[in-house]
Symmetry: C2
Subunit: 138 residues, 2 copies
DNA sequence: CAGTATCCTTCATGATACTG
DNA sequence: CAGTATCATGAAGGATACTG
């Protein structure tokens, strides 16, 4: 129980933005799809499914800015742009896949816990004869 | 290059909320701190540093709802509430620590990439004699 | 094809004040 | 001590229309 991870706020402040990219709505999915090889903008768009053109652009620019993907423009008409993982992007894939695998293994357990929590909360507010304040269900 | 992760949208839809909890501003930090052992509300608040009372409450309720932490109330005066990781919470710690370690190892490389990208973007907009549209720097 | 530009809505987070 | 309640704000994301 003596882990002592040395929680240094300054270090956390630098790491937090990296983790928040993991948590954003599309980045992880895009990185995983690019793990299969380079892809063009609209191919990515189709494979992701449900992403707006705007959000795919923003997501890809963010990943490019972080150094996870390269953007290669072929100045043809019509234009063609390929996106590809960098070595850094590929290395990110390693822990991300582990986290993804963990999530897949545990998602049912989590969903069950959520149902129990929500059920208990409902019973609680019923017994108090009042509506539930501050909902936590996302 | 033949990974074929079988990107099933329905599966992704269930996993995405789990990943987004990883990305939220405080959950990972709280889980890692609780990895050192059970802790009271205000002790957690002090250790996290910079979190509002409201956000700590919301973060803990979310983690409790997901089944990552337990909340134990001691009906004393003044009240005492202990938060502790569940086995599920501890198991989450494994991939999260790996991701954290990856982030710590690579944060400098990422920050360098960001600076290069921002610098290149600045040069680009200078050469076009116009202000930069759509900033990607978070 | 691969974006930009706008507008708009919802959500996450924070500040502050109050309470059993 | 450990919360709730309320209000305010900025960011994230989506819809739609336009363009080299």
């Amino acid at each position: 129980m003596e882990q002592s991870h040395t929680h240094v706020p300054s270090e956390c402040a630098r790491v937090a933005p990296v983790l928040s990219r993991i948590g954003d709505k599309w980045s992880v999915l895009v990185v995983m799809l690019l793990g299969d090889g380079p892809m063009r903008f609209n191919e990515l768009r189709r494979r992701v499914g449900g992403i707006s053109q705007r959000m795919l652009t923003l997501t890809l620019r963010g990943l490019e800015r972080d150094g996870f993907v390269t953007r290669t423009v072929f100045p043809t008409i019509p234009p063609r742009v390929d996106y590809e993982l960098t070595p850094l992007g590929h290395s990110l894939l390693v822990p991300v896949r582990e986290l993804g695998a963990w999530a897949v293994r545990n998602v049912s357990v989590i969903e069950d816990a959520q149902r129990r929590f929500d059920q208990a909360a409902k019973g609680q507010s019923q017994s108090l004869e009042q509506a539930a304040p501050m909902s936590f269900a996302k």
